[in-house]
Symmetry: C2
Subunit: 574 residues, 2 copies
């Protein structure tokens, strides 16, 4: 079925099979890391380690500046029209990015993707894998431009926009490509089957073809699109499906540039650019439902709020649906080696990107009678004070606040924080008050420091749902086991993406692991030190279990890729 498309060298272009060879070593490294879940990355870990930092940064920022007020036009010219995106504003400057994108009707867009998909499915698996890995490389080559685009749409600090939305997200993308590659490689291309029937031996030549499911829609979230979108994009693409990227209307630019880069690679290989396309809408006229309900759509990936996520899980027919939504991530305190070590990492977790992350902790259950540490018994109030002090150590130093907290992506988050603050003034007590901090580089930045409120365990209406942003709760409980019971019940009912426990007692740790496991939640124990507690490592951490309401898609297990393609067979008798 190989038609020659996409794996022959074209005039100015590149051969997809050459690309596979070029990136073969990177693929092998990823596959080894996936097999033993070791720490590995395809890239230097920080901007400073970039081989040509100063020049790359200068060029990247200049490229970003040129985007502002301009157009990212991915064609096709003559279909739809270029419209300035009014809902895309920088959380740092408060100004509209004023970028124009082409608006194309959902059914037209799916039609373009399906048409390009007919060519894409003919490209051999390895060639598709080569193209995907080349797209990853070119995304890395444009790291600083994409960093700026991520920063000025999501509100992430430059450091996080470079790693979390850059290298880490690309690593998760490579992980998805590698998983797709290994699962596809296990389907043999052909077989000879021989069996006696009576005295005659019947001999069949069989051929097996990896076949895509259909058009794939990737619905991205506003605050951290790349980290989930890259794995979804590459898992669907590598397995032969054309992809329509549908970014959140307030956070389009990074994904638009990513699509542009993917199209460059496709065109270089002599393939139709519409194998990867961009769908853009505005909040008052959303097109996601129209996209995902198109019968030509075979796969939907969704990252975002649980309300819309569960709507998709319930209403999408005939397409495989992969979701990551949200949970009420808990911290259960039983005991600790060291109070400061725990409150420092906890304050970091509550502060990092102003808790606009799916792994941010939210509900901290602390025994009201206090708890043991190696340095002696710690009172409940002493814990609260230490946590507040650790938070303040971040928020009160602007340069530190800027690098940790970043800015607030959506005005709605600021309002939600105010609403919780008001409710808590009646029903609880403030452990750490929220304010703004003065961003050293962007005086107009929308900033909020973390609000930490104490509420009783009976105030489930306050802490029993995800509060997306810098809002968390300290919940005094009668015992560590009471905290464990409540947090496990919440994981089961409200979902959990990351759960945390602190205990020096082996029996309590074992009990916690078992209880969270029974509720379908993963657990991290006794995290301290410089690693952010909510860090999730590509190639190593299975992200989202699929066993509680926080989503159905695991980054990146085999089920994340194996359902994106099917197998066609052809049997011929000799």
């Amino acid at each position: 079925m190989g038609s020659g498309i996409g794996h022959e060298r074209t005039g100015s272009g590149c051969s997809a099979m050459d690309l596979f060879d070029r990136h073969r070593q990177r693929l092998a490294g990823a596959m080894e890391a996936i097999a033993d879940r070791r720490s590995w990355s395809a890239f230097p870990g920080s901007a400073r380690a970039h081989p040509d930092e100063a020049e790359a940064r200068r060029q990247g920022l200049a490229a970003f500046e040129r985007r502002l007020g301009g157009a990212v036009d991915l064609g096709p010219v003559g279909i739809g029209r270029l419209v300035t995106q009014t809902s895309e504003c920088s959380p740092f400057t408060g100004e509209s990015l004023s970028v124009q994108y082409r608006r194309i009707a959902p059914d037209v867009l799916v039609g373009l993707a399906a048409e390009a998909g007919a060519a894409w499915r003919q490209v051999p698996s390895r060639a598709r894998v080569g193209i995907c890995l080349e797209i990853v490389q070119r995304l890395y080559d444009r790291a600083f431009e994409l960093q700026a685009a991520a920063q000025h749409t999501t509100g992430q600090s430059p450091g996080m926009a470079y790693t979390g939305s850059g290298t880490n997200a690309l690593d998760r993308g490579i992980e998805a490509i590698s998983q797709a590659y290994t699962v596809m490689e296990r389907v043999p291309e052909s077989a000879t089957w021989e069996r006696p029937f009576g005295t005659t031996v019947v001999r069949l030549d069989k051929r097996f073809t990896v076949a895509p499911r259909g058009v794939a829609i990737v619905v991205c979230c506003a605050s951290f699109p790349a980290w989930n979108a890259y794995p979804a994009l590459f898992a669907s693409l590598a397995t032969g499906n054309p992809v329509v990227m549908k970014p959140h209307p307030s956070s389009v630019l990074q994904m638009a540039i990513a699509v542009e880069i993917a199209q460059e690679v496709l065109l270089d290989c002599g393939l139709p650019r519409n194998v990867v396309t961009l769908a853009v809408d505005e909040p008052e006229n959303m097109i996601t439902m129209a996209l995902v309900q198109d019968p030509r759509v075979g796969i939907v990936d969704y990252t975002g709020g649980p309300l819309f996520g569960s709507l998709l899980e319930r209403t999408v027919r005939s397409a495989a649906v992969f979701t990551e939504t949200a949970g009420t991530n808990a911290v259960v305190v039983h005991s600790a080696r060291n109070l400061q070590g725990m409150t420092r990492v906890l304050a970091g977790g509550l502060s990092l990107f102003s808790a606009q992350m799916c792994t941010s902790p939210q509900n901290v259950f602390v025994p009201r009678s206090g708890f043991a540490t190696a340095d002696g018994w710690v009172d409940y109030q002493t814990f609260c004070d230490a946590l507040a002090a650790s938070l303040d150590a971040i928020a009160s130093v602007p340069v530190r606040a800027a690098s940790v907290l970043g800015a607030i992506q959506a005005q709605r988050t600021v309002e939600m924080q105010a609403e919780v603050e008001k409710a808590v003034s009646r029903e609880g007590r403030i452990v750490a008050a929220s304010g703004t901090y003065e961003h050293p580089d962007y005086p107009a930045a929308r900033t909020r420091t973390p609000l930490v409120a104490e509420v009783g365990p009976d105030r489930h209406h306050l802490y029993g749902e995800e509060r997306f942003g810098p809002v968390s709760f300290v919940i005094p409980v009668d015992s560590p086991d009471a905290g464990l019971a409540q947090s496990v019940a919440d994981a089961r009912r409200c979902g959990a993406i990351a759960s945390y426990v602190y205990s020096e007692d082996e029996a309590f740790l074992a009990r916690s692991e078992e209880a969270f496991a029974a509720a379908g939640a993963s657990l991290s124990a006794n995290l301290v030190g410089p690693m952010p507690m909510n860090f999730s490592a590509a190639y190593s951490d299975y992200h989202v279990t699929g066993l509680n309401p926080a989503g159905t898609a695991t980054l990146t297990d085999e089920a994340f890729v194996s359902g994106r393609f099917r197998i066609l067979q052809s049997r011929r008798q000799r």
Copy 2:
């Protein structure tokens, strides 16, 4: 998390880890066959090759006789009540089997399964695999009893009941166990993860646990339950899920005995019997919907009619749904090496188990101007006559008819055949008339010989849906390509599980493969000789593509097993 349950030797019982070792070689053989799709079986291919045929058959038939009028009581005593199954009658004798089964309310049954599942999930993966393989062995040890049960519920001939519902079905079961094993084995149990953050190296001990999705419901079809039920049962069981088997009310006994055998193995290993349970209902009071909509259910496998199948696909929430329904399997005739070779195998396909199989051909597209063979041009009418003669050669010899056609499972099928016959008398023409044949052993057997009707390509209302049973259509078309176009359109819209083409022209074969592939259908070309054309080989043939309306589950690709479990992780900082 290993609790010791199920892998310690109990008094009279067996150790599950010993079972894994005992069956390790069989597992290795299956894994090799899956990897290269060679012909392989764990068992001798026919009853005659059974190591102790005469005695085993005598014992098996005696055991079956003892079942009649008795009870298969799988407990628990005190819950529900034993009721004689009135809808289960032998298609051979016409008499009720009069077996009593325990009727348990769906929610109670799911509760029992969930409770037993708590112990089952603690059993290590390899131990579960060992138990599954032991169940397979004991099903084989009871081959003749199960054969008789299959025969007298489905209407299959003894030979087919022994192989198709016996060894072949068990091979597909072993295939599912092997796939589950290899997918689970690729998840490492633990890892040490080390990464520098600044000047500090953070070290995490990670543990990964295969976690089941929930209670699995296996909804079986009436005419061929084992072939789909065994793979579903074992795929869910091996991955840690408790299973409720829900046979069709007219075809319970074989699955009831299979559940009894599974429970014996579980009890021998010191595990709760309710890890595998049986749900029984009657046609006037069906419980499948209540079962599959229980929120504790995580997996649903369904084999049966497309109407109910698509209802499940649309309505089941929160559970993974695997279906095999039906299609309008086509035969496209372009040219042939040899007329007789083709019509003989075609007549076999139309006759085998009276076409009560998901792979039975239904719509035969033949150029009305005839077609080429190595022996010269063949007129359309000559083809029809040769096909009718080949059919008659089977149907007119009672002992041959008995072994090929078997009996008709459901009275409804006889009525459907009469309805089509009536319609065709107005709208088409009879190529081969249907009648009964006299069964040499069972004078009361419900038999029907194949009805083959000629209808024009415009009579889509007659041939454009599955006619389950001995009804097929010869459709004269203007050209081979017209036949190809219609059959491909039907595969896309009405589904296809198996599609067939006859052509000596490489270009037409390539065009056919491409066209069926584009419609999401697999294709077999030029099948002649002693292998039944609709034979599907375990370990080699991917059965059901999931890319057309005939179902979503492929026997047995990795997607069939990888979605049945998820991965929980536990991270501890050192």
